[in-house]
């Protein structure tokens, strides 16, 4: 377990907000040396976003920043100055990967387009994450999490048919994009190692969502095969319970398809139901079944129901709050959370590793960086003296 998978990989990180930083977090947590470049003064805008520790807004106390930037080093650099751009080019020489999520064309306007950077570092991988990609009529349009979901497709199908569509929670979609972009970056790294060249990974959030398995890869072919788009509709079969159901202390979500009906009957320990409801696809029997089912559910907690269903292999999940999740025995036993100590916020519990690997581990070597915490370390290595750094700071470069 000595090695981390990406311990030989160097990344320069120009990303901010959610999707880009999640991408570079994945790389950093598996061992890559990630240097995060932030704007002098204010840094990554996510430092200004809640939740904050004790609801106290402070650039080093944003929970989302702290979570998204583990294992990275932070330097400040103003790319709008010529000196800043020169320093950036020096940093570029030595890295394998550059990740950015500015709007399309911003890097080119700064004189830092791929053609320029490629000359300095011919094997450079440049992962570019943007809402609409680097080309096409919408490329300069602005986005947000909800717009990404709308243009990317899942939104139209989420919600009730007689109401407006409703989005996924918080910025979950954008985190997922970072997850994909990390995979895409690794593919480009594989190419650099095996074919010997770097390239641009143009990651457009809209088309990524339209192409992935968040409904789209099922619903698009269904539309093509049958000619009608899919709307907001239940996936319930006949009288069978599928969806959210109230129980003693909250809600459970379940899916019971015709093949699983005997398991539900087994879980309820009411074998007579098999005969009573011999045609489960008959939706007119739903009320009759619900009159038995709801009272049965209301006597049991969500946790009990989840575990009972687990033992008969029925698809039932407790609709957990974060409190439930943090107290859940499975997550705790698996070690899904991480304790991280940070100089300003102290020890806190964070989401832990997404998965484990037997040879190469996920590890927190350092908490999220303070703004510019590693200026001296990183610029010192390039040969800048402390006096140089003072001057650069005075000139607004770092």
């Amino acid at each position: 377990m000595a090695d981390q998978a990406l311990s030989d990989v160097k990344v320069l990180d120009l990303t901010q907000h959610f999707a880009g930083p999640y991408c570079t977090k994945m790389l950093a947590d598996f061992g890559a040396d990630v240097i995060k470049i932030e704007r002098p003064g204010e840094g990554d805008p996510s430092r200004r976003m809640g939740p904050f520790l004790n609801d106290e807004p402070h650039p080093e106390k944003s929970g989302i920043f702290l979570h998204l930037n583990t294992n990275k080093r932070s330097i400040t650099l103003n790319l709008k100055t010529a000196t800043g751009r020169n320093i950036f080019k020096e940093l570029m020489r030595d890295v394998d990967i550059l990740v950015e999520n500015f709007g399309p064309g911003v890097m080119e306007e700064l004189g830092l387009g791929y053609e320029v950077l490629e000359e300095i570092n011919p094997k450079l991988i440049m992962t570019r994450i943007s809402y609409f990609g680097q080309s096409g009529p919408y490329k300069d349009y602005k986005g947000s999490d909800i717009i990404a979901e709308g243009m990317g497709g899942p939104l139209y199908m989420m919600g009730l048919p007689d109401r407006e569509p409703v989005k996924y929670g918080d910025d979950t979609t954008l985190f997922g994009i970072g997850n994909y972009a990390a995979a895409a970056t690794m593919v480009a790294l594989f190419v650099a190692e095996h074919q010997g060249f770097g390239q641009v990974v143009d990651f457009g959030i809209m088309e990524a969502l339209q192409s992935c398995v968040n409904w789209q890869l099922t619903m698009h072919p269904t539309y093509q095969y049958k000619g009608a788009p899919v709307g907001r509709e239940t996936t319930a079969f006949g009288m069978l319970p599928t969806g959210g159901f109230p129980c003693k202390d909250g809600w459970v979500y379940m899916i019971v398809d015709p093949g699983w009906w005997p398991k539900l009957v087994a879980m309820m320990e009411m074998p007579e139901l098999m005969e009573k409801f011999s045609n489960v696809l008959d939706a007119t029997k739903k009320d009759e079944f619900d009159a038995i089912f709801y009272p049965w559910l209301l006597e049991r907690t969500k946790k009990e129901l989840h575990e009972m269903a687990g033992s008969v292999k029925l698809n039932v999940g407790a609709i957990n709050t974060m409190e439930d999740v943090l107290n859940d025995r499975h997550y705790n036993e698996r070690g899904a959370f991480a304790e991280i100590d940070h100089p300003v916020v102290g020890k806190l519990t964070y989401p832990g590793r997404p998965f484990t690997m037997t040879e190469t581990n996920w590890e927190i070597k350092r908490p999220a960086p303070l703004l510019g915490q590693h200026n001296e370390e990183v610029y010192g290595k390039l040969g800048y003296t402390r006096e140089d750094l003072v001057r650069l700071r005075e000139a607004g470069v770092i």
């Binding site: 139209y156 594989f190 093949g259 698809n315």
Partner: protein, 439 residues
């Protein structure tokens, strides 16, 4: 001429339903040779259909997913005509062997010997019972990268629980942060972030495994519990709880620091009778003062925009109920694309809410080369979604999802070097075929 990114890599695939099948498809599109190993004796429910041989009438009772066949007709070979399978399982090959007989396992191990990766997402006991554990397979091929992605991971009290992505959304705390209202979750629909995230992480993990193998010559096992893989994606709710003890519920379509919503556009009103695709919506996020001013300009500066209750950022957030009604009055008279373009021209983040019909006609997606035309042997020619991302120097490819056992000849004769006689014997003994046995 650049080669496909993953040319020369071979990955075995015993995947189910949504999450990991999609990893296999991405690998295939990137140039890996992905071999889906199937079993004629075991019909993979929810993967190649809901029922093996539904009639058209039964299929119609199985909802949108269950009835997803060309023209709604399951045909003679429904498992080859199922829209969900054909969307998710493309760009890979299919071979068959009976993994519940010793010879099937021997054949599978011969494939393992000549493969780089193996991905699967069954309950842990399935592979364990077949003897396809890391201990067994690493003896056959120590360079193998084996990604196992059961719902709850390979250990822990829930390890053998059954699960689908939509269940994990609830268990991991995502469901509590979406939907209209936490007081009534009864109508909540399935949500599919967990599947998409597991698909991505499995690809990421496999690529890291290959990278590490390059350095050390050793493969490894990845234990990816779908239920915990996307927990870090819920960072806002997670950190709010651990930092402040606050349980975050749903905000519906609202945003903590922006006027945000999904607004009705010109078209049908949403109702239980409205055919899907006839109601039209736009998503709008107005955060900064500049965006608000842009919004006012875009809608022609009507008097109400100058009222005190909307005059600054905090007032707008406080009075969003009123503001939503006024915004929707404007949007509901206009086409969703018109609203999007008009607002975006003034710097306001806005996006049409696309259904499948819109997506295949969208000029941006078309210009980006997103829709791809594929001809499927059993289904004819249709458009499908294209690759997830673009790479500037390496090509990519998309090809049709495999019919059951479609590539048996290639896999057995070319990959394994099985003789014609042995091949015939394996056909007779029910390892090789293109139709389920005993269903």
């Amino acid at each position: 001429m650049a080669k496909l990114p993953l040319e020369g890599i071979r990955v075995l695939d015993i995947t189910m339903v949504w999450a990991l099948p999609w990893t296999g498809a991405m690998l295939g599109e990137l140039g890996a040779e992905v071999i889906r190993v199937e079993q004629l004796q075991r019909y993979p429910r929810l993967t190649r259909g809901i029922f093996p041989k539904p009639t058209r009438e039964i299929a119609e009772m199985l909802g949108t997913i269950g009835s997803g066949f060309p023209d709604g007709e399951p045909g003679e070979r429904p498992w080859d005509r199922f829209a969900m399978f054909n969307g998710i399982q493309r760009s890979k090959l299919s071979c068959t062997m009976d993994l519940e007989r010793p010879e099937g396992i021997e054949l599978f191990k011969r494939l393992v010997k000549v493969s780089d990766g193996f991905i699967e997402n069954n309950a842990p006991e399935v592979m364990d019972k077949l003897g396809l554990t890391w201990e067994a397979l690493s003896e056959v091929n120590p360079r193998l990268v084996y990604v196992r992605a059961p719902g709850y991971g390979l250990s822990g009290p829930y390890r053998n629980y059954s699960g689908l992505g939509m269940i994990f959304e609830s268990v991991a705390g995502h469901s509590w942060t979406w939907w209209y209202d936490n007081d009534d979750m009864s109508g909540i629909l399935p949500c599919f972030h967990a599947d998409a995230a597991a698909g991505a992480s499995a690809l990421f993990a496999l690529m890291m495994g290959l990278h590490h193998r390059e350095k050390t010559g050793r493969g490894q096992l990845v234990d990816l519990g779908q239920c915990e893989n996307f927990l870090p994606h819920l960072g806002e709710a997670f950190m709010d709880y651990t930092m402040n003890g606050r349980i975050r519920g749903t905000m519906c379509n609202r945003h903590p620091t922006a006027v945000q919503g999904v607004y009705l556009c010109k078209g049908a009103k949403p109702s239980l009778e409205t055919p899907p695709g006839e109601d039209h919506w736009v998503a709008i996020t107005i955060q900064t003062d500049e965006e608000w001013e842009g919004f006012c300009r875009a809608i022609g500066n009507p008097d109400w925009t100058k009222e005190k209750r909307f005059s600054d950022f905090l007032s707008r957030l406080k009075n969003q109920d009123d503001l939503d009604k006024l915004i929707e009055e404007w949007t509901s008279q206009r086409d969703k694309y018109e609203v999007m373009h008009t607002l975006q021209r003034e710097g306001v983040p806005a996006g049409a809410v696309l259904n499948s019909r819109d997506a295949f006609n969208d000029p941006h997606l078309k210009e980006r080369g997103w829709p791809v035309e594929l001809t499927h042997r059993e289904c004819g020619t249709h458009m499908y979604p294209g690759p997830v991302w673009h790479m500037s120097k390496t090509p990519s490819r998309v090809f049709q999802a495999p019919c059951l056992g479609e590539h048996n000849e290639y896999v057995y004769k070319k990959v394994l070097g099985v003789s014609d006689e042995e091949y015939e014997r394996l056909v007779k003994e029910g390892h090789i075929g293109d139709t389920y046995i005993g269903i």
